[in-house]
């Protein structure tokens, strides 16, 4: 639905006013609502940081009163501050707040496991594990298509990697 004032932007603000028992309804876009002073938009309440802290906060309110506040030893960031700013203070914050991050990251991304690139050095064994996973898929395909020579090759490669992993 288009804004009733400018007739250009989508109406995102639905306003119901009841004055002397007379009800008026207005559908405005955010800009017109702001311009006509219908709604006191001080600091944009729909700003990214505000919305994000809305996602982060419900976590806090229910647990906060019972558990002691989580504070990162490395950078001094508290969980409360993190939910307000929407920013971690250092890599260790992830570890410190880990009990709450599973829910939180899932809420944001719909997933809580990384499934992408792994750095060569700091990635450690993960890179090998991912490679094994990939080779197993290829092996399955090779068997399905009866490419047995290729399959034998892949099997040896997988063995080699598994040994490397166990050796470390």
């Amino acid at each position: 639905m288009l804004c009733q004032r400018c007739n250009q932007r989508d109406a995102t603000v639905h306003l119901t006013k009841i004055i002397n028992e007379e009800k008026t309804e207005l559908y405005l876009c955010e800009k017109c609502a702001q311009e006509t002073g219908q709604i006191p938009f001080n600091n944009n309440p729909f700003s990214f940081q505000n919305l994000l802290s809305g996602i982060l906060n419900p976590e806090l309110s229910s647990i906060d009163s019972v558990q002691p506040e989580l504070i990162c030893d490395t950078c001094g960031m508290s969980y409360k501050e993190f939910t307000k700013k929407g920013l971690f203070g250092c890599a260790d914050c992830y570890e410190t707040f880990s009990s709450k991050l599973d829910t939180l990251l899932k809420r944001i991304h719909g997933s809580n496991y990384h499934n992408g690139k792994v750095p060569q050095r700091s990635g450690g064994n993960l890179r090998i594990k991912k490679e094994i996973e990939q080779l197993r898929k290829e092996l399955q395909l090779a068997i399905e298509h009866e490419y047995f020579e290729k399959a034998a090759e892949l099997r040896d490669q997988i063995h080699g990697l598994v040994e490397k992993l166990e050796g470390e």
Binding site: C75, L87, C90, N112, S122
Partner: protein
């Protein structure tokens, strides 16, 4: 130097070079967010820690031959230079503000720009003309490998790259395309398209980033989710959706010719006329008219102007660029007058 030469000298690579699907996709961008282990993130770091980030990255990038990058400290750059970089979409407005140890590494072609101590320690960005997400990812990935060869990134097996903001956690990848969709707008299909796109885990924004309205029918589409999806999936997904949008836009253009031929032809020529003869013009109005002119060119109705006019002028007509070209500070009215002159010079090129 003639105004034409000045215009050519001020064009950045993604604006002036050619690329696939360039009539609809103005540019492709890849951004990777990376942080260094054991150093507080920029929002929490002391000046010494921020300086350490700069030092380590300079050390690595100055000792390699793979790609030539120039380092600049943001504080050393005149304000106008910083604004020019924002207008070229090379750095964020936040990074253009004075601050301790904020740095920029820029390639000669300006297709690579690394921001140091922005929200994350390191933000690698690659900008390409047209639809070239794969190529941009390749370049960004190589730079990432180069840095990772010497730096211990903040990374966990479970959550991937540990970025400053949880919305970037995982791949730290933001892939985006800037698209020009005038016909979808004229045929009232844009809202439907935007709605569908947002259901696919993608975000749509206006030309100037977060919270901005669409100007000149230009939209930026990017992935929203970074955790749980591989870089290839993220890029393929965005590429696939962009191709669909290109098809839809092309169909809408056909529809315009079938149903409203005279009306759109009239509108394109009027827009060109206004741009050619206006004495002063705001950037908002310029963008609206330039969008019409580009559509006219791409649909073969206007044939004496080339299609690059929109992407070039959308950067050149912004305040910092006009003042750079003019060589002095100008108030709004003076800028509006110079903007009209500049557009006319470019249209006659």
């Amino acid at each position: 130097m003639s105004l034409k030469d000045i215009i050519n000298n001020n064009l950045t690579y993604w604006v002036s070079a050619d690329g696939p699907e360039r009539d609809i996709v103005l540019s492709s961008r890849i951004r990777l967010a990376r942080n260094i282990e054991k150093l507080n993130y920029p929002n929490r770091a002391k000046p010494a820690e921020r300086a350490e980030v700069t030092k380590r990255v300079i050390e690595i990038l100055s000792r390699q031959e793979q790609v030539k990058l120039h380092y600049m400290d943001v504080n050393d750059l005149p304000v106008l230079e910083r604004e020019l970089m924002v207008e070229k979409h090379l750095i964020s407005p936040i990074h253009a503000q004075e601050g301790s140890e904020k740095g920029i590494f820029l390639a000669d072609q300006e297709n690579i720009c690394i921001m140091i101590n922005e929200e994350d320690h390191i933000r690698i960005q690659v900008l390409m003309p047209g639809l070239q997400l794969g190529k941009a990812w390749e370049i960004a990935g190589e730079l990432d490998d180069l840095l990772e060869g010497k730096l211990d990134y903040a990374f966990s097996e479970k959550w991937g790259y540990l970025s400053t903001c949880p919305t970037n956690t995982g791949s730290g990848l933001r892939a985006s395309v800037m698209v020009h969709l005038p016909a979808l707008n004229l045929t009232n299909n844009i809202a439907k398209m935007l709605g569908a796109v947002s259901q696919l885990g993608l975000a749509v924004r206006g030309l100037y980033g977060e919270g901005s309205e669409s100007v000149g029918n230009i939209y930026q589409i990017s992935n929203q989710l970074t955790l749980g999806h591989s870089e290839h999936d993220i890029i393929d997904n965005l590429k696939g959706v962009t191709k669909q949008i290109i098809d839809q836009e092309k169909q809408a253009r056909q529809l315009l010719l079938q149903k409203m031929e005279f009306k759109v032809k009239d509108q394109f020529r009027r827009s060109l006329g206004l741009l050619k003869y206006a004495y002063q013009i705001s950037s908002q109005e310029s963008m609206k008219l330039l969008s019409n002119v580009k559509l006219g060119i791409d649909m073969g109705i206007i044939d004496d102007v080339d299609s690059g006019v929109l992407s070039e002028l959308m950067v050149l007509i912004r305040p910092a660029h006009i003042q750079k070209i003019e060589g002095k500070e100008l108030d709004e009215t003076a800028r509006d007058i110079k903007r009209a002159e500049l557009i006319q010079a470019r249209l006659n090129m």
